[in-house]
Amino acid sequence: MSDPASQMPEDELLAAECALGVLAGAERDAAEGRIARDPGFARMVIAWEERLAPWAAEIPEVPAPPQVWDRIAAALPAQKQNAGWWQSLAFWRGLSLATGALAAACIGALIYLGNAPSQAPLTAGIDGGGHRHFVATVDTRNGRIAVVPAAYSADATREPELWLIPADGKPRPLGMLRADRAVTIAIPAGLATLAVKDATLAVSLEPAGGSPTGQPTGPVIASGKLTSL
């Protein structure tokens, strides 16, 4: 039997053994240490992994149980700000499908933000005439408010405008809403401290582009108080 080392350098044989996984104990530890500090060796291991990987086609796929993903998500570091559910259109679309889902969705949001209880989101059902026209959720941490249409139906000539009415009773304009989709509004810096629990959100009907005066000019059709869940 010829000496294999004469046909392939010892380093590459070790890389092959490493990729195949036949090493154990101190040999395996040593090889892994070498991968970490020797890029040339690491490349040889990758090349061997490439050669062998197609073999895995023979291994049948087995769906993992759903709780595995939940465990992975829980093991990740805390979520960065400005990422995740707030940007998720799907989240808001799902929410807008049924206001009945409000409680569940907001509990979901609360769980997401559960690591910052002092900055828990606020929510308001904006109701009028026995209908819930919009649902608003305030992301106090990022200074944004998301408003999802519910039973509101578009007015032929006027557009819905959202107002914040804090304890002083004076309406401050927040922005225009849409009948057909959720909108996200950045709360103006001067108003952030006013968008708190028990402040009122109201919707008036205004000319296209919004009230020309800075105060509601059309009828206020719906309102609701911000509450923390």
């Binding site: 039997m1 294999p4 046909q7 392939m8 044989l13 092959a16 053994e17 990729a19 195949l20 996984g21 036949v22 090493l23 154990a24 104990g25 395996r28 490349r43 990758i46 061997w48 992994e49 490439e50 050669r51 062998l52 990987a53 197609p54 073999w55 895995a56 086609a57 023979e58 291994i59 049948p60 796929e61 087995v62 769906p63 993992a64 149980p65 709780q67 595995v68 993903w69 465990r71 992975i72 998500a73 093991a75 990740l76 979520q79 960065k80 990422a83 995740g84």
Partner: protein, 185 residues
């Protein structure tokens, strides 16, 4: 082609993970977890252990995604290597013996037809490897199978095939040399 589309989806999602994009990790998980769970389950045999390993694999992917270089390795190769390594780590750490039944070269039929696979690169890579494996001696192929699919060590394989450790090492090493040479042609 679906395979390319899948590959591109995985590569694109891996590229978004270093910025902290959890949805990207979930995309990778959705596209690849069934294959990696199959790999871990094959090595470990115990579902609960394979689930633990699968969790470790994707947490590793989350931490190491920046190391993945699409120019150098295919995403599935990278992911399968992580899954095999984690499963083998677990296997080595456990006291429980697995995949220890004697195997004989004659047992190895190596007759699997190339399988359509949702995430693996393509049938040509598989066919080429399969053709080269067919060119090995039966005992070499059997030993390689035990290592790749069962996570066996040299010692395990020597015991299962009832040969001295040194003999097993030289079988495997000769097989790898022949394999590389064949795959290069």
């Amino acid at each position: 082609m679906d395979l390319d589309a899948n590959r591109n989806l995985i590569v694109a999602a891996l590229a978004r993970i270093p910025a902290g994009d959890r949805a990207a990790l979930q995309t990778v998980y959705r596209l690849t977890s069934a294959k990696l769970f199959g790999v871990a389950l094959r090595i470990l045999e115990e579902r609960s252990e394979a689930e633990d390993v699968l969790q470790e694999v994707y947490v590793t992917v989350w931490r190491k995604a920046a190391d993945f270089d699409a120019a150098r390795a295919s995403p599935m190769t990278w992911l399968i290597a992580i899954a095999r390594n984690r499963a083998i780590d677990r296997l080595r750490a456990s006291k429980q013996s697995r995949h220890t039944a004697p195997i004989e070269a004659a047992d190895d039929v190596a007759d699997s037809a190339p399988m359509a696979d949702r995430v693996l690169e393509n049938a040509q890579d598989y066919a080429r490897l399969h053709g080269c494996l067919d060119g090995l001696e039966a005992r070499e192929r059997t030993a390689l199978r035990g290592a790749f699919f069962d996570g066996n060590t040299y010692e395990d394989l020597a015991a299962r095939m009832n040969v001295p450790l040194g003999t097993m090492k030289s079988w495997i090493r000769r097989a790898m040399i022949k394999l590389k040479s064949c795959l290069q042609q």
